[in-house]
C-alpha cells in the first residue's frame, strides 16, 4: 500500500472535513483515533483505502476518515464490500460495523464474507446495544438486559461473536478494546498482515445507553486480572504481574501458575481451542480473552474470481463481441432474395 512518491502523511491527514458526531465520551472516538494513527504509521495510501459500513453510530465511521468511504444500508456492508473488492482487488477495504448491524440484520452477509474469505478487514464495534436507535438490546446483550423494548429483560440467548465467526469458517478472528490503544494497534497490524478476511471484535463503550457495560473487565485497574491476551506462540499468562496462567485439560481450561501455562497457537487445524477459550467470556472465574483467537491461511475469493477470468482468456483467447453475437448456427438471407 505504500508509495515512495507520496510525502509521509500524519494522523491528521486521515481525518476528513466532516465534523465528528458521536456523543461526548463515546468509545468510537478512541477507535477512530487508533485507526487514523495506524493508517499514518503504516503509511497507508488514502486513495487506495476504502471504508465500507452499514448503519449505526459505529457505521458513521467512514465519514470521518479522509479515504474513500461508503456508508451503505443496514447490515449490508459485507455485501457491498464484496463488490468493491472483487471489482478492484487493489483497494485496501475495511468494513466497519456494529453488533446490531453485523449480527442482527447483517448476520448472513457477515457469515458469507467470512466463508468466502475475501482479503478485507472487518471491525465490529460491540457495545452490546443499538446505539443509533437510542438503546434497544442487541444480539450480543446478555439475557435479562432491561432496555426500552425489553422492560422486563431480554430473553434471547446472545451470540458469542468469536464463535459465530469461527462457525462461519473465519480465517482470522481477534478481539480488542476501545480504551487500549496499544493492544488495538497490535491487533490491527496482525489483521492487516493476514491475507483473507480478518474479523476483529472491538469492545466499545456506549456511554449513553450502555455505560460501562464491560467496566468490570476492562477498567484499567481490573483489566490485568480480568483479561488475558491471546498472543500466538506465547504462554497463556495474565495478571498484574503476569503471575497467572491457563492450561488445557482435555476440553476444559483451568487456571494455573504462569509457569505451568500452555502456549497459545492460533493456527491449529481445528478451531476447537479458540471455541473453547471464547467460551470463558461468561465465566466470572475466568479472564476474558482478547487478542488473536485464530489466524490461518486459505484461498482468497477475489483472487480465484480473477484467476478464472485470466485462465479463460488464456485458454479461449481474449473474447471478441463478435464471437458472442455471431455464435452458433448463423445463416444469411442475401439481398437479392428480398
Amino acid at each position: 500500500m505504500t508509495d515512495v512518491e507520496r510525502p509521509k502523511l500524519t494522523k491528521k491527514d486521515f481525518a476528513s472535513d466532516q465534523e465528528v458526531r458521536w456523543c461526548p465520551g463515546c468509545g468510537d472516538y478512541a477507535i477512530l483515533n487508533a485507526l487514523q494513527r495506524y493508517m499514518a504509521e503504516t503509511e497507508a495510501d488514502p486513495a487506495k483505502t476504502v471504508f465500507v459500513s452499514g448503519i449505526g453510530c459505529s457505521s458513521r465511521f467512514p465519514y470521518y476518515m479522509n479515504t474513500y468511504g461508503f456508508h451503505t444500508i443496514h447490515g449490508r456492508a459485507p455485501a457491498v464490500a464484496t463488490g468493491v473488492k472483487v471489482a478492484n482487488p487493489e483497494l485496501d477495504v475495511w468494513i466497519v460495523t456494529g453488533d446490531g448491524d453485523s449480527l442482527s440484520i447483517g448476520g448472513n452477509h457477515l457469515a458469507h464474507i467470512l466463508r468466502r474469505n475475501l482479503d478485507v478487514n472487518i471491525l465490529m464495534f460491540n457495545n452490546e446495544i443499538y446505539g443509533l436507535t437510542k438503546g434497544q438490546y442487541s444480539p450480543t446483550s446478555p439475557v435479562g438486559t432491561k432496555k426500552k423494548s425489553t422492560p422486563m429483560g431480554s430473553i434471547d440467548r446472545p451470540f458469542e461473536p468469536v464463535q459465530f465467526a469461527l462457525g462461519s469458517q473465519a480465517t482470522f478472528v481477534a478481539r480488542t478494546i476501545d480504551q487500549d490503544q496499544k493492544h488495538m494497534s497490535k491487533t490491527l497490524a496482525a489483521a492487516a498482515a493476514h491475507r483473507g478476511t480478518s474479523f476483529i471484535e472491538v469492545l466499545q463503550n456506549c456511554v449513553i445507553f450502555n455505560k460501562d457495560f464491560y467496566a468490570s473487565t476492562v477498567e484499567k485497574k481490573v483489566r490485568p486480572e480480568r483479561t488475558i491476551d491471546l498472543s500466538p506462540g506465547n504462554p497463556l499468562v495474565y495478571g498484574g504481574d503476569s503471575d497467572k496462567g491457563l492450561r488445557f485439560r482435555g476440553f476444559e481450561v483451568e487456571r494455573c501458575a504462569a509457569d505451568e501455562a500452555d502456549v497459545w497457537h492460533s493456527d491449529t487445524q481445528s478451531p476447537a481451542p479458540a471455541v473453547l477459550l471464547s467460551g470463558m467470556r461468561d465465566d466470572e472465574q475466568m479472564p476474558v480473552p482478547i487478542g488473536v483467537f485464530r489466524n490461518v491461511e486459505a484461498p482468497i475469493y477475489e483472487t480465484g474470481v480473477h484467476a478464472q477470468v485470466e485462465d479463460a482468456i488464456a485458454r479461449k483467447g481474449e473474447g471478441d463481441l463478435r464471437d458472442l453475437v455471431y455464435a452458433g448456427e448463423v445463416w444469411t438471407v442475401p439481398a437479392d432474395e428480398a
Binding site: A47, Y68, I73, V80, V330, A338
Partner: protein
C-alpha cells in the same frame, strides 16, 4: 392438414403441398425430451430459412411423476414462409407422446387438426396415471380431428434391435423417431440434427448411433407416410436480407449486457442469486469469462444488488438479475443506488405472482413496483424488452442510460421472452454507438462530488484516484456529498433526482405508430405482447377497423411526443398481462386521454383472436355510445 393460410386452398392428394405457415406442438412427459425435439425442429427450420416463433410450456419446477398431467412438457412453434410474430394461437398438428399430454393439449388443437399419438403409451396404467377413466383414443375425445396412430415404442424397439443400449435407454430415443417423422412430413433436412447429435454425445458412440438411427427410422417409416396423404413444404421466408441466428431471450439479454459494458468501456460485474426464470442470465454470463465478465453467485438477492452497487462504486459496471420475489427484496438497496447516484442495471425477468405465484408462467405484473416499489421518492428509469431479438439492443440501452445519467436502471423481461426463441437479425457491431465513461480524476475549482452536468448526472470518481477521496451514503447529502439535513437542500436534491430521470426522455426516440397516425383506436402495448398485438391489429385493420398500434420499450420515463400522438385517437386500448398497471401509469402521466384497460392474468400469453375480438367489442360499443 391445414394451416391458417392453406385452409382455403382445398388440400388434395397432391404428393407435395405448399403451405404458408404451420403450427406444431410437441407434447410429452417431462422425461420424453420434448424441449429438445422442439428446439431441433426450430433450429432446422431456421437454418432452412423459415421465419418462426416458439413457445415452450414447462411444467412446474419440480418434475411431477412420469405420465401425470402436471408432468406434461410442451413445445409449440410456428414456422412460415412469410413473416410472423407469434408461436400461433392453435396448433395445426399436435404430437402427443402419452395420454396425459393428449388430454392437456387436445383442447387447444385447431378444429380438423392432426393429432399424432403414440399408441404404445395408452395402456391401462398409463391411462390411470393420466387420470383417464376411459381411453381417449376410443371414447370420442378425438372426434373432429385427424388421428394418426403410431406405435412408437415398438417401432423404436425394432429400429434399435441390434443397438447395445439397454431397452430403457433405447426408449429414450423415442423423441428423435418422432422428430424424424415430422421432418419427413414437412420436408426438412436431417443433417443439422444428425450433426448436432454427433456433438451432443461426442464420445458416446452408442448414443449417437441409436438416436441417429431412430431419427432416420422415423423419417423413413413408409407405411405411416400413407396416413399423411402426402408431404408438405413450407418455403423459405422472405426475411429482410442479413445474417441471422436463433436466439433465446435470456441469452440475447446476457450478450447485450456484455456489449453494453464494453461500449461504456467498463468491465461487467454481474451479481445474482438463482431464481426461475432469470437464472439463465447468470448462467450465460458465467460462460463468458474470457470476455472479461465477472459473475458472483451471491447468498441472496439483497447481497447480489449490494455487491453490484459496490462494484459500480469501485468503477466497474455493476449488474444484477432476478425475478419477482427477488425484486421485492431489492427495494431498499435500489434506494441506496438512487441516493448515491451510481450506475447499475437491474434485470427483472417477470413471472406470475403475487408472492411465489407460478414461477414458470408468464406475467407483466412488476411494472408499477418497478417504478414505485421503494420507500421515499425514488425515481429510476425502466426499460422493457419485447422479444428475444430486441433483448440485445435494449440491454445495451439500459447500460447507456445507467452510465450517462449515473442511475440504476431496471430492465424488464418476462418468462415468455426469456425462454422463447426466434431468428435474430444480427447487428452490425461496428455501427454500435459507444458511450465511453470518463471518470473524473482531477478537482477543478468548482468540483463537487454531487455537482451536475447538463444531463444532471454527477461526476463518477473511481476509488484509487489520488486526491479525490470522498464519502457517500444513503443519508441525504449536500452537493459536497457530506451529510445534510438542510430542508432546502432536500427539496433541491429531490427535484434533481426526479428531473434527472425525466431527462432520459431527451435521449430516447418517440415510438412510431403502426398504421394510420389517427383514428378510432390506438392499441398501446409494452413487453412480450408485441407479436400478438402486431398480428391482432393487422387482422383488425384487414377487417376494415380504424385501429393503429404503438409499442413502448421505454416505460419510465415515457418518451416525448406521446401526448400529441394519443390526442389523435378517440380511445387508447391498453392490453396487458396484469391488472391494468400500464393504464395507471399512463393516466398518471398523460391524464387527458381515454384509456381502456384490457387484461389477462392466466400465466399464458394473449391469443391473437382474443385481442381482435376485444378491439371489435370496444369499437362497436363506442360507435353505439356515439
Amino acid at each position: 392438414m391445414t394451416s391458417t393460410s392453406a385452409q382455403n386452398t382445398s388440400a388434395g392428394e397432391l404428393p407435395l403441398q405448399q403451405l404458408d405457415r404451420v403450427v406444431i406442438r410437441f407434447a410429452g412427459d417431462s422425461g420424453d425430451g420434448m424441449q429438445v425435439t422442439g428446439n431441433q425442429f426450430t433450429r432446422t427450420s431456421a437454418l432452412f430459412g423459415n421465419d418462426l416463433a416458439t413457445l415452450p410450456d414447462f411444467p412446474a419446477e419440480i418434475r411431477a411423476p412420469a405420465g401425470t398431467r402436471p408432468g406434461v412438457s410442451g413445445f409449440q412453434l410456428q414456422f412460415s414462409a412469410s413473416d410472423i410474430h407469434t408461436p400461433g394461437d392453435q396448433p395445426d398438428v399436435l404430437v402427443a407422446m402419452n395420454p396425459a399430454a393428449l388430454m392437456v393439449n387436445i383442447g387447444s388443437l385447431k378444429a380438423g387438426g392432426v393429432v399424432i399419438v403414440n399408441t404404445d403409451a395408452f395402456k391401462a396404467t398409463d391411462l390411470r396415471k393420466a387420470k383417464c377413466d376411459t381411453n381417449p383414443l376410443e371414447d370420442g375425445t378425438l372426434d373432429g380431428f385427424r388421428v394418426i396412430e403410431v406405435d412408437i415404442n415398438t417401432r423404436v424397439g425394432e429400429a434399435l434391435a441390434d443397438s447395445p443400449l439397454s431397452n430403457r435407454d433405447k426408449q429414450r430415443c423415442k423423441n428423435f423417431y418422432t422428430l424424424g417423422l415430422m421432418y419427413w412430413v414437412y420436408s426438412r433436412p436431417l443433417e443439422p440434427t444428425l450433426e448436432w447429435l454427433e456433438k451432443k454425445f461426442a464420445g458416446k458412440d452408442d448414443l449417437i448411433e441409436a438416436n441417429q438411427t431412430a431419427l432416420k427410422a422415423g423419417y423413413n417409416s413408409g407405411d405411416i407416410r400413407e396416413l399423411f396423404q402426402g408431404q408438405y413444404e413450407v418455403p423459405k421466408a422472405k426475411l429482410a436480407p442479413g445474417t441471422y441466428r436463433n436466439v433465446m431471450g435470456n441469452q440475447a439479454l446476457a450478450i447485450g449486457l456484455v456489449a453494453g459494458a464494453r461500449l461504456a468501456g467498463l468491465q461487467p460485474v454481474f451479481c445474482s442469486y438463482p431464481i426461475t426464470p432469470a437464472s439463465g442470465v447468470l448462467e450465460s454470463l458465467a460462460a463468458y469469462k474470457n470476455h472479461g465478465v465477472v459473475t458472483i453467485q451471491s447468498e441472496d438477492e439483497i447481497a447480489a444488488i449490494c455487491s453490484a452497487i459496490g462494484a459500480s462504486f469501485a468503477g466497474t459496471l455493476g449488474m444484477t438479475g432476478t425475478s419477482g420475489p427477488g425484486m421485492a427484496l431489492k427495494g431498499e438497496a435500489m434506494g441506496l443506488a438512487i441516493a448515491t447516484e451510481l450506475p447499475l442495471v437491474i434485470v427483472d425477468v417477470q413471472r406470475a405472482g403475487p408472492s411465489t405465484g407460478m414461477p414458470t408462467k408468464v406475467e407483466q405484473s412488476d411494472l408499477l413496483s418497478s417504478i414505485y416499489g421503494r420507500n421515499g421518492d425514488a425515481p429510476m428509469p425502466v426499460v422493457a424488452i419485447s422479444k428475444p431479438s430486441d433483448a440485445f439492443e435494449l440491454s445495451i440501452e439500459a447500460c447507456r442510460i445507467a452510465v450517462q445519467y449515473m442511475t440504476p436502471v431496471i430492465l424488464l423481461s418476462d418468462n415468455f421472452i426469456a425462454n422463447g426463441a426466434e431468428p435474430w437479425q444480427l447487428p452490425d457491431l461496428d455501427a454500435l454507438q459507444r458511450f465511453d465513461v470518463e471518470f473524473t480524476t482531477e478537482k477543478t475549482d468548482d468540483f463537487l462530488s454531487f455537482g451536475r452536468d447538463d444531463k444532471l448526472a454527477r461526476p463518477w470518481v473511481k476509488p484509487g484516484t489520488p486526491g479525490m477521496e470522498f464519502r457517500i451514503g444513503g443519508l441525504e447529502k449536500a452537493p459536497t456529498s457530506n451529510i445534510s439535513y438542510d430542508p432546502d437542500n432536500h427539496q433541491r436534491m429531490t427535484d434533481i433526482r426526479h428531473q434527472k430521470v425525466r431527462n432520459v426522455a431527451d435521449t430516447i426516440p418517440t415510438p412510431t405508430v403502426d398504421g394510420p397516425d389517427s383514428g378510432d383506436l390506438l392499441v398501446v402495448g409494452w413487453g412480450s405482447t408485441v407479436g400478438i398485438l402486431t398480428q391482432a391489429v393487422e387482422t383488425a385493420r384487414a377487417k376494415g377497423l380504424s385501429v393503429s398500434r404503438m409499442h413502448l420499450t421505454h416505460v419510465w420515463p415515457l418518451p416525448h411526443g406521446l401526448d400529441e400522438i394519443f390526442s389523435r385517437f378517440d380511445g387508447i386500448l391498453v392490453p396487458e398481462m396484469n391488472v391494468a398497471q400500464m393504464t395507471v401509469l399512463l393516466r398518471g402521466e398523460l391524464p387527458d386521454h381515454d384509456y381502456i384497460p384490457y387484461n389477462k392474468v392466466t400465466g399464458q400469453p394473449f391469443l391473437v383472436a382474443e385481442v381482435v375480438t376485444e378491439i371489435e367489442r370496444v369499437l362497436t360499443e363506442r360507435s353505439k355510445k356515439a
